[in-house]
């Protein structure tokens, strides 16, 4: 399986090249070429491996393992140095603890634990590789024009683009590492690399706020990392296997403790409550970073790990509570999203919420739930990256990321506006991606033990989801003050990437029966022995709906022709075309439209506090569940 190695190394080589090259257009070309190569390679992986089931790869372990240990120590030292530089004691302590534990594991136990197969690939990894390879590299290409504009608009921020792209590609490499590692120690190493990369990327602008938030992300992810090392140590102490496939195959009796510990790490990485604050803080980073970290990679690593262990978690008290953390996060984060008017924060909370749904599925861990979880991961990655990039492009032209300032976007930036509408529809409307997944999720929940709780969480949560997406869409198509069109100013390359991803949103929805048939169903079948599938009828109905959604806009051509156009009703007040009217005493006023934010209902601090309390209790119960299930007793 040379292709795995290629996918691991290609981004790394590109990264090194980018670091070495001087500031020159050629660097942009390296990014573009690397993106195409990586995307192509992941498609090649799909083409060659999709029908082969799960394959493990023997790979010389010792030297690589040692290199990784050394690098892990270097990472720890770097974190300590940064902590010292910015006077942050907590990360120093955490890094020391983690490095200490890791060294303990590496020196005492690792030599005795021989991993035969260090790499593997199965249908789930292929899906993840496609997401990383296509969406991830598309975001890197988008970053080229974005960062140019970014530095044009923020001259006060030092231009470290060279390091920026270097870290982006290292990040991609590490993500491939996560989804291809069968050796848990390797997985952990790549895990830590993503933590470090996110730390660097979030702090990119160097402002106090950015630095603080990057440390917040670092601290929370280090806490999760300690959970991960804990799992490794536990495996070492109990002479367990360090190979992922064997561990998962061993069942709950053996694997529940490491599974729970790694799930804990996954909860931090996927920014579930109570750890969600790092993801919100990360919104200070340039938008491509947000797109990369919060749609297709970083956070997906967290849920990937939990979903990987879903068969172990299934039916255990710990798994139930892991799932509940996700469910509660879904509800709370959706509610908070209603109250936000900052576009990136809405996206962030919606990300947290959707990941919660994935975690809930994984915690339940039945075959239907895993099937639904992977669907959620796919569709969320595509639609959310489109939205992040859309917001980024809009922000650069409108100079605001406030949703209210996007009023009338479809007239000012028709293409970007429509693509954002597609992305939002993809997040919550039938028959597009996420709703298919939500449908699957509901079916999975209902059959699960204790499913009623999950049902309630998802029923209320998705109703709230509809509210905040629809009102945002509404703002985009309402046009109180038709500003001049500004789409020409958006760099062509940004538009191209947006168009590609928007196309993917629709294509994935169209192709989803096949995605399910060739990737998800075999995967679930190989783990559980039976699989969820869609009835023929339902597929036809979905495709019918999709067809209608795609065809109906043609009616616009008909409605456009020769109709008498009237002004909006303003209570009888004569109103100008740009919605100015003469108010009392003849003063000219401008009409303004503002969404409902329901602060009194879902106010951020209150909902967040409640969510934290509940989830902390649930996490305690999750660990307590280990004793009940006999994992530790």
């Amino acid at each position: 399986m040379d292709i795995l190695l290629f996918l691991l190394l290609a981004p790394l080589i590109a990264a090194v090249l980018l670091l070495a090259l001087p500031d020159h257009p050629i660097r942009d070309w390296v990014v573009r070429v690397a993106a195409v190569v990586i995307g192509g390679a992941s498609c090649y992986l799909l083409a060659t491996a999709f029908d082969k089931g799960s394959q493990v790869v023997a790979f010389p372990t010792e030297p690589v393992g040692q290199v990784m240990t050394v690098l892990a120590v270097v990472i720890a030292l770097y974190i300590i140095a940064m902590g010292a530089k910015y006077r942050k004691p907590v990360p120093i302590v955490l890094a020391l603890v983690q490095a200490g534990l890791l060294l303990w594991f590496e020196l005492v136990y690792a030599p005795g634990m021989h991993a035969e197969h260090n790499l593997f690939v199965d249908e789930f990894s292929i899906v993840m590789a496609l997401i990383i390879g296509i969406i991830g590299s598309a975001i890197c290409v988008y970053a080229i024009p974005y960062m140019r504009t970014y530095h044009g608009q923020h001259p006060e921020i030092p231009d470290h683009r060279r390091a920026f792209f270097f870290v982006l590609f290292v990040f991609l490499s590490a993500m491939f590492g996560i989804v291809f590692s069968n050796n848990l120690a390797w997985l952990f190493f790549f895990w830590e690399v993503t933590t470090l990369c996110s730390f660097v990327l979030i702090g990119y602008s160097g402002t106090t706020e950015a630095i603080d938030n990057s440390f917040l992300a670092l601290v929370l992810n280090l806490v999760g990392g300690i959970g991960f090392v804990g799992a490794l140590l536990w495996l070492g102490m109990t002479q367990g296997t360090i190979e992922l496939d064997r561990l998962v195959g061993a069942g709950a009796a053996v694997a529940l403790v490491p599974a729970t510990l790694i799930s804990f790490a996954g909860l931090t990485k996927s920014a579930q409550l109570p750890f969600s604050s790092w993801l919100l803080g990360a919104m200070v980073a340039p938008t491509p970073v947000s797109a990369l970290l919060h749609s297709s990679t970083m956070v997906k690593a967290g849920v990937y790990a939990i979903v990987k262990f879903a068969p172990v978690l299934s039916g255990t008290p710990s798994g139930f509570f892991v799932g509940l953390v996700g469910g509660v996060t879904f509800l709370a984060a959706s509610a908070i999203a209603v109250t936000q008017s900052n576009a990136k924060r809405v996206l962030a909370y919606s990300t947290v919420a959707n990941l919660g749904l994935v975690v809930a599925c994984a915690g339940i861990g039945t075959y239907e739930a895993v099937w639904a979880a992977i669907l959620l991961i796919i569709f969320h990655a595509i639609a959310k990256s489109l939205l992040f990039m859309g917001v980024g492009s809009v922000e650069h032209q409108v100079h605001s990321r406030d949703i209210e300032d996007m009023a009338g976007l479809v007239t000012r930036m028709p293409r970007v506006g429509v693509m954002m509408l597609i992305g939002m529809a993809g997040m919550y409307l039938a028959p597009l991606g996420m709703l298919i997944s939500k449908w699957a999720t509901l079916r999975a929940f209902i059959d699960a033990p204790g499913g009623v709780v999950f049902l309630l969480l998802i029923a209320f949560g998705s109703a709230i989801t509809v509210f905040f997406w629809a009102k945002w869409m509404g703002i985009l198509i309402a046009r109180p003050n038709r500003g001049e069109p500004i789409e020409d100013r958006v760099p062509r390359e940004e538009l191209a990437v947006l168009g590609l991803v928007a196309f993917l949103v629709i294509a994935a929805s169209l192709l989803f029966p096949w995605i399910s048939k060739f990737l998800l169903e075999p995967h679930v079948l190989s783990i559980y022995g039976h699989t969820a599938e869609l009835g023929q009828d339902n597929i036809i109905i979905m495709l019918l709906m999709l067809g209608a959604v795609l065809v109906l806009p043609l009616s616009l051509l008909y409605f456009r022709s020769g109709r008498h156009r009237l002004a909006p009703y303003m209570g009888g007040r004569p109103t100008t075309a740009d919605m100015h009217f003469s108010g009392s005493l003849g003063i000219q006023r401008e009409m303004g439209l503002h969404n409902y934010y329901l602060e009194d209902w879902f106010g951020e601090p209150r909902t967040f506090r409640a969510g934290v309390v509940v989830t902390v209790v649930l996490i305690v119960l999750m660990f307590a569940g280990l004793f009940v299930a006999g994992g530790l007793a």
Binding site: P431, L442, I446, V452, L456, R479, P568
Partner: protein
């Protein structure tokens, strides 16, 4: 399996039935108020007239959204009567209402904007109950397929009393009747001008009206499922149900949206949770 014949029958007959129900509704409402009331066919006259009016627009996209609203309302009803998947029906319905809301947003008038926001509040209020009702049917019958639920030989009302009451509570809102007609409502009720439909006129408004007929029939079909084991009882029950709605409409005043949301969520949470837990742990029938 789904039955295409039923779907076609729904598409053709539902507007007729829905329009008649609307006409009877207006007549009975008038009688309750001591008036003579319009002819039973009045709703058809109204829509006929709307189609005769000039085609005017406020924004180009508004007509598209309303057309799509009508298409998807009809689609979800057809899917329901064809015996399709209940969850898909619910989702298609949500899509339809979001399209209506978007149509209202695109018109840019402050009145339709407020109507849109309120319609969204409504959507948020009743959505959980509808999803949980679908879940209740599944737990009781073991299937999401409307066809199989309808063919279930025992009275579902006996195992789903909580779901039934909850859904009935929400029905008032779905039918746009007092006290929950917060987004827009029927004739002769004064509004923040006319809510979501403020900027729709002529044939566009006609489409909204026809969509409402479709939805009325679909909703009655949903309630039919509770009594499907005996068609006679079902017809009687639906008649009583609708009469009760008319009475409530005439006997109550509109509440504020906050109260509507809060009370519907409370009812949903308590009744459906109790009902579902009971079903899941103590078995239905």
């Amino acid at each position: 399996m789904i039955n295409v014949l039923f779907a076609v029958a729904f598409l053709v007959l539902a507007p007729i039935l829905g329009g008649l129900i609307a006409g009877i509704d207006r007549k009975l409402t008038a009688r309750m108020q001591g008036r003579v009331g319009p002819p039973v066919l009045q709703p058809f006259y109204d829509v006929g007239k709307l189609l005769e009016k000039e085609h005017v627009i406020v924004s180009v996209s508004q007509n598209f959204f309303v057309l799509a609203y009508l298409v998807f309302i009809a689609f979800s009803g057809a899917l329901f009567f064809a015996g399709g998947d209940l969850l898909l029906v619910v989702f298609a319905l949500t899509l339809a209402h979001v399209l209506l809301v978007l149509g209202a947003y695109s018109a840019t008038s402050p009145y339709s904007f407020i109507g849109a926001e309120r319609e969204l509040v409504q959507l948020m209020a009743y959505e959980p109950m509808v999803i949980l009702a679908a879940a209740g049917f599944y737990l009781a019958t073991g299937s999401f397929s409307v066809m199989e639920i309808a063919a279930f030989p025992r009275p579902l009302i006996a195992v789903l009393p909580g779901i039934f009451i909850g859904l009935f509570y929400v029905l008032t809102m779905k039918l746009r009747k007092s006290p929950f007609d917060i987004a827009t409502s029927h004739h002769a009720h004064q509004e923040i001008v006319k809510g979501v439909t403020t900027e729709f006129s002529g044939s566009t408004l006609g489409m909204v009206e026809v969509a409402h007929w479709y939805e009325t029939v679909f909703l009655l079909g949903l309630f039919w499922l509770f009594f499907a084991w005996s068609p006679v009882i079902a017809v009687i029950a639906l008649a009583i149900l609708y009469l009760a709605e008319i009475f409530i409409d005439n006997a109550t005043a509109r509440v504020r949206w906050g109260f509507a949301l809060r009370s519907i969520w409370a009812v949903t949470l308590v009744l459906s949770a109790a009902n579902l837990v009971w079903l899941q742990y103590f078995g239905g029938l």
